[in-house]
């Protein structure tokens, strides 16, 4: 009789879903506590780490139009606008990684959105600057926001579901920006039917 091999420890502890991942396994108990009582003001570091890793991992599932890079050797640019919820975690995630043969450059851009970003994470606006970010529509930029940040209109939006980090994808918005999102990724989007 075959049996599924999962992670029995986690399953015993948290019946609904486990979201402990990779290097963060040591913080299991802490994660469980955070998931049980989420707070928008103080997002647990594990959740932020997962999101940081996802931001990087969206890249291979998405196709940017050929003209979106200035030069063949141009880096793949990930921009973080507004407040940076990740800190050094995201630097760790992208260090030494490549996307489609390009090195990854991480830019924290504050409230000014520069040209040349391939991925733009829109964080909570800084308290000092209440002017909301204005995005130029039609640019080949994958915009990502967090559901709790109060910023709308992004292509991908992180949501918490059952204590896990999931995401919603606005495929029409992506297409409007000239991006092609892999059906594999779309299949994981909340609201999409499972493959």
């Amino acid at each position: 009789m075959a049996h599924l091999i999962g992670r029995p420890v986690l399953r015993d502890l948290i019946p609904e879903r486990a979201f402990a991942r990779r290097t963060l396994r040591t913080a299991l108990l802490c994660v469980a506590a955070a998931a049980a009582a989420p707070s928008p003001a103080a997002t647990p570091p594990l959740e932020q780490a997962v999101k940081a890793s996802y931001i990087f991992k969206f890249a291979p599932f998405i196709e940017w139009p050929s003209g979106s890079f200035a030069a063949p050797a141009s880096p793949f640019v990930i921009c973080l606008a507004g407040q940076d919820p990740f800190g050094p975690v995201i630097d760790e995630v992208v260090r030494g990684q490549k996307v489609a043969g390009r090195t990854i450059a991480l830019r924290r851009v504050g409230s000014t959105v520069p040209a040349g970003c391939q991925i733009l994470f829109l964080g909570r606006p800084a308290p000092s600057n209440n002017v909301p970010l204005v995005l130029t529509p039609g640019q080949p930029v994958l915009t990502i926001t967090d559901a709790g940040s109060g910023v709308g209109g992004a292509i991908i939006q992180f949501v918490m579901q059952g204590g896990r980090v999931r995401f919603q994808i606005d495929d029409a918005g992506a297409r409007a920006n000239g991006l092609v999102i892999s059906s594999k990724l779309l299949g994981l989007s909340i609201g999409a039917s499972r493959p």
Partner: protein, 577 residues
């Protein structure tokens, strides 16, 4: 069939099969071995190809799986990953499958009992563990490595593998069996063939023996009559000589002398025919004039009949030549005549006639030799049987039933046939139909040459003869013919005399003599040492005569008349001169 019976028959079958197999030629054994090696090579090759194919299949499957689980693996959707993996369970060949994250930790997977799914995996080249093939592949999207896949597949499930080998084994066994059976049957066939050839050879010998015994039977029938006849002839000669001593009347003496002469001539002719007849020889066809032959048998035929049976010959001139063994021909005619005689217990006439029968349509020209009697005849249902060997209607000790079977055998071996016409109470006609020969009759020497004298001067002849009375008579004959003669008792003395005496112009020698050399050896020696001296051999023994004529030696058959002696001597001297 009860148990023991069955066992016996099975044992018999097995031993028979074993014996046949033992006789199977080496070729069949080699074939079987070659077949076995071929099948084995094929099986191994098949296995190798199967493995390579399996490897490709597994790699493709792993890659499909890797592509499917890329997103769930990247975004920690374990349920989806597990769903993809579970879909593989439909394939019973997969022993274990697992998806691992980028750090190599197991995310989801399953294994069948007995197979192990490692908790951590590293991407490695395909490996074979026991009967399983392990394939690992990297899960990547674009350039980004997202994890790895582990797939353990049974190369071939045991039942399938066993079935495949069983199939090959079955084919090999059947083919080997077929080869063995063919080989065995070939062996038994060649054995039978060998036996058959031995059988044919022994039958040929038996046939030869049968022919001789058929002839001997005819001889046996003749002997009584011939002995009686000889006594009569001797009686004539003996009483004639007695009477000649007692009378001085020239006319009476001349009558008596003629009577003796006639008796002696008849005796000579009879023995000559008997000797020719009895000669043991294989079938030796010659082109003959059948009329002459039958006329030459007259004394023999007369002597073998009773007084109340008349033999009449109807032999026209101009009969076509036929090619037969003359001795067998005579035996056949005699056998028919003897049967005709026995069919006429109250006497009658036997008519021997010969006619040319021109061919019609496909039938060739043939010569018919018919023997007709005026006897009891043969019932219609018996006519087919009379030629069967050992079929006889005569009493015990009177016939062997071989006579007419010889006639049948002779006719068929000569390319002809036998026809029987019979009417009960009226008589029987048995006809031999022999095909006409296209060959010409051999030239025959003139038997009755005129007496030739020795010529102007007397020539010296060396006579070699061991029998004194014959020597005296021949010396007298030579003197009468005008030759001087010297006598030697045997070949050795003759050679010494030749060395000492010059002027010998011819050697006349007996064939069978005591001493180191016989007449034939003597003639050969003379031909070597004195090639200028001609030789003439004389003999009464026909076997010896045959070998001499084969060598081209001049031969006088005893008893001979003075005219024959004269002709031979003249011819020999004439050819040497």
């Amino acid at each position: 069939m009860d148990g023991s019976h069955f066992k016996v028959s099975v044992t018999g079958l097995l031993s028979r099969t074993a014996r046949r197999l033992a006789m199977t030629p080496l070729v069949a054994v080699f074939l079987s071995i070659a077949l076995l090696i071929g099948a084995l090579t094929l099986a191994i090759q098949n296995d190798l190809i199967g493995r390579a194919e399996k490897l490709r299949q597994s790699e493709v499957q792993a890659q499909i799986l890797a592509s499917s689980v890329a997103a769930p693996l990247a975004f920690d959707d374990d349920d989806t990953t597990r769903e993809f993996l579970n879909a593989l369970r439909a394939n019973s060949e997969i022993q274990a499958a697992g998806a691992y994250d980028v750090k190599g930790q197991l995310v989801a997977g399953y294994n069948v009992p007995g197979a192990v799914l490692p908790q951590a995996s590293r991407v490695a080249p395909p490996a074979i563990a026991g009967r399983d093939l392990i394939v690992t592949t990297t899960v990547r999207q674009g350039d980004t490595v997202l994890g790895s896949i582990y797939l353990r597949t049974a190369i071939e499930t045991w039942p399938r593998r066993a079935l495949r080998y069983l199939g090959i084994a079955l084919i090999v066994v059947m083919a080997s069996l077929l080869v063995a059976v063919l080989g065995a049957s070939y062996a038994s066939l060649s054995d039978t063939h060998r036996k058959l050839q031995a059988e044919i050879a022994s039958r040929q010998q038996a046939e030869e023996a049968l022919r001789q015994s058929q002839k001997m039977e005819a001889m046996g029938q003749l002997t009584g009559g011939v002995a009686h006849d000889f006594n009569n002839l001797l009686m004539v000669a003996s009483s004639g000589l007695d009477l000649m001593d007692r009378t001085t009347d020239p006319a009476k003496r001349e009558r008596l002398r003629a009577g003796i002469r006639q008796a002696v001539d008849r005796g000579a002719k009879l023995t000559q025919q008997l000797l020719t007849f009895a000669r043991r020889s294989p079938m030796h066809p010659e082109v003959i004039d059948i009329g002459d032959r039958i006329r030459g048998m007259d004394t023999l035929l007369d002597r073998s009949m009773r007084e109340d049976v008349t033999v009449s010959l109807d032999l026209p001139r101009g009969l076509w030549p036929i090619e037969v063994d003359p001795s067998q021909m005579e035996v056949a005619l005699l056998n028919i005549a003897l049967n005709a005689r026995d069919a006429m217990p109250d006497g009658g006439t036997i008519t021997i006639s010969a006619t040319n029968i021109p061919g019609q349509d496909d039938a060739p020209d043939r010569v018919s030799v018919a023997v007709a009697d005026t006897g009891t005849g043969i019932a219609a249902d018996m006519t087919a049987k009379i030629f069967e060997p050992f079929f006889t209607t005569k009493g015990v000790g009177r016939g062997t039933g071989l006579g007419l079977s010889q006639v049948y055998g002779f006719a068929h071996s000569s390319g002809g046939e036998v026809k029987v016409e019979s009417e009960l109470g009226r008589g029987t006609t048995i006809a031999l139909l022999i095909p006409r020969s296209q060959k010409a009759l051999p030239h025959k020497a003139n038997e009755h040459a005129p007496m030739i004298g020795a010529g102007d001067r007397r020539r010296l002849i060396l006579l070699v003869e061991d029998d004194d009375s014959v020597a005296v008579m021949v010396t007298e004959m030579l003197a009468t013919l005008g030759y001087d003669s010297e006598r030697a008792e045997n070949a050795d003395i003759a050679l010494k005399k030749l060395e000492r005496t010059p002027g010998v112009e011819l050697v006349l020698s007996d064939m069978v003599m005591p001493g180191h050399l016989n007449g034939l050896d003597l003639v050969r020696t003379i031909a070597k040492r004195w090639p200028a001296i001609p030789t003439v051999l004389m003999t009464g023994y026909s076997d010896a005569a045959t070998s001499a004529t084969d060598e081209g030696i001049r031969l006088l058959l005893k008893p001979y008349r003075i005219e024959e002696l004269s002709a031979h001597l003249a011819a020999a001297i004439g050819s040497a001169a």
